[in-house]
């Protein structure tokens, strides 16, 4: 009985510690999410000066968007946290629902899906190479990059 009670106590202690560790980790992730400032960016040579959240939503869902007579193209930055925030806070969709909708659009019309890029360097390079393209990035990453300008604020919550 004594051994059993002791084991039970240890199990309880470990459980409490595990829960506390979980809360700390989750809290850290949530704090990072809150700290994320997501902005819409384009090359400094882009005709896009400002784009509303509604226009961004239209663009990423395959609706044609033109600025100064030029068709604007969307790039997807697929880093997990940035993409989740963009989908949930700007498009109001889950990743599965978004993927299904844009694949349906491509399958129906033949128009290409937004290009997917997993690294900031790749997004920056693609934007610099195509003035008609826009993408979303964390604001702190845009500050480090050259040749990019912010054309919209998408998600902006202070920690």
């Amino acid at each position: 009985m004594i051994l059993t009670a002791s084991s039970a106590l240890r199990w309880l202690q470990h459980s409490v510690l595990a829960l506390l560790a979980g809360f700390v980790l989750c809290g850290n992730v949530l704090a990072q999410s809150d700290a994320l400032r997501l902005v819409l960016v384009a090359s400094t040579s882009s005709p896009v000066e400002n784009m509303s959240a509604l226009e961004v939503r239209r663009l990423y869902l395959g609706v044609p968007v033109t600025v100064a007579g030029q068709n604007i193209e969307a790039l997807r930055y697929t880093e997990h946290q940035a993409q989740e925030v963009f989908l949930q806070k700007v498009l109001f969709m889950s990743l599965n629902a978004y993927e299904r909708q844009i694949v349906t659009h491509t399958f129906r019309t033949g128009r290409p899906k937004p290009e997917e890029l997993g690294h900031v360097a790749g997004v920056t390079e693609a934007l610099l190479g195509n003035p008609q393209a826009v993408s979303y990035l964390p604001e702190e990453e845009v500050r480090k990059a050259r040749g990019l300008k912010i054309v919209g604020k998408l998600w902006n919550v202070a920690p």
């Binding site: 869902l61 044609p64 599965n96 299904r100 349906t104 129906r108 290409p112």
Partner: protein, 384 residues
């Protein structure tokens, strides 16, 4: 040269004939050329390409009044394995897309279109395309993953019944070959969209046989089709519209004849955050001679499908299909599996990235009041 193969692998003597027309090596070569060539074509700042692969596997079981199965329906063992390859490319104003279906029942080029885009919203297509009759046939095409249910409603069945449709054969043209003008015009947040097509339609052999591209020996005749729709919000899939198709259909089976099919319909879809309700209504008139008998027969059919996302990965759905027709209609008599009533219930589980497992049960009543039930399990995915 490669596009003269239109092949439906059917049972019995048709297999030999079909294999003569079709070489799987040529077909594989065509698929490889398309897969390799599209990215090269799209190496341009203002161009893009897409390659999508839609595989699916279905296992099924039927009970009740089991009639002889067609080659394209689930066989007695109840298995269907298929993959749809989609390739598209665009360069400046030029566009191209194709969809190739390979399954254990058929191998076919389902869509093959060259397009010229007048602007970002309006395109003129030449080639083989899906008839824009309603919403189902041009939203999902042969990509089983994209439709929530496993089966298609019977009224929009493919001519050969393939592509995720385990029952019966289509009674209206779903594939056309010719010209298609399609586009849209934005009005505020919404848009009006249109499709107008003038093409070669199907002939009536053992079933409706679509006009195959670049194979002029099949006697398809002129078909006119049009659709007009409205979306109050272009970012939503909520929409409504009307459509019409008129086909002159020659009869090539021993019954003989020639008739015109006129089709008029309405469609609508209401999409919410976790719900979707959509349906189509068809009014079809077959006028002409079939088996030397001049007559006019009417067919009315509709379906309504509701979907509810219980939680993020789980979606429940139900569909009701009804049709009414003249019991002595010689045209519908050729389609023994076409039901007058079908009720469908299903549950779809989306898992990993772009995979779905779906379980579906349906209760069907044929036009002669015979009944059968069907249970299907499908894995479907999209690779991109």
């Amino acid at each position: 040269v490669y596009f003269s193969w239109h092949c439906k692998i059917q049972q019995g003597k048709s297999i030999k004939m079909a294999l003569n027309k079709f070489s799987k090596w040529r077909f594989a070569l065509l698929a490889a050329v398309l897969a390799a060539g599209a990215p090269a074509m799209a190496q341009h700042n203002h161009g893009g390409n897409s390659i999508l692969l839609f595989p699916h596997l279905i296992v099924g079981q039927r009970s009740g009044d089991l009639r002889p199965q067609t080659a394209s329906s689930i066989d007695e063992v109840g298995r269907e394995a298929a993959v749809s390859l989609f390739v598209s490319a665009e360069r400046d104003n030029l566009r191209f897309l194709t969809e190739i279906l390979l399954s254990n029942f058929e191998k076919d080029i389902e869509r093959f279109q060259f397009g010229y885009a007048f602007d970002v919203r309006n395109t003129l297509w030449l080639g083989r395309f899906h008839n824009p009759a309603g919403i189902w046939n041009i939203e999902h095409h042969h990509g089983s993953y994209l439709q929530t249910s496993i089966s298609r409603p019977h009224i929009v069945s493919y001519e050969d019944g393939g592509g995720g449709l385990p029952i019966g054969e289509g009674v209206v043209p779903m594939h056309l070959t010719g010209l298609l003008l399609e586009g849209s015009r934005g009005f505020g947040a919404g848009a009006v969209n249109y499709e107008i097509g003038f093409a070669r339609g199907p002939a009536l052999g053992d079933a409706l046989e679509p006009f195959p591209i670049l194979q002029t020996s099949v006697p398809g005749k002129e078909t006119f089709t049009a659709r007009l729709g409205y979306k109050p919000d272009e970012t939503s899939t909520t929409q409504l519209g009307v459509f019409a198709t008129r086909s002159s259909i020659p009869v090539t089976n021993p019954i003989g004849g020639d008739f015109n099919q006129s089709l008029f319909g309405l469609y609508g879809q209401l999409s919410g955050e976790s719900t979707r309700l959509f349906g189509e209504w068809f009014d079809i008139s077959n006028q002409g001679s079939l088996g030397g008998q001049a007559r006019t027969d009417k067919l009315n059919a509709w379906f309504l499908q509701g979907e509810y996302r219980i939680q993020e990965p789980l979606t429940a759905y139900a569909r009701v299909e009804r049709s009414s027709s003249n019991p002595g209609d010689p045209y519908l008599a050729l389609f023994a599996q076409f039901p007058k009533s079908t009720n469908v219930l299903g549950l779809r589980w989306d898992f990993m990235a772009n995979h779905a497992l779906t379980l579906e049960y349906s209760a069907n009543t044929r036009r002669d009041d015979s009944q059968f039930n069907q249970l299907l399990l499908q894995w479907a995915a999209v690779f991109k």
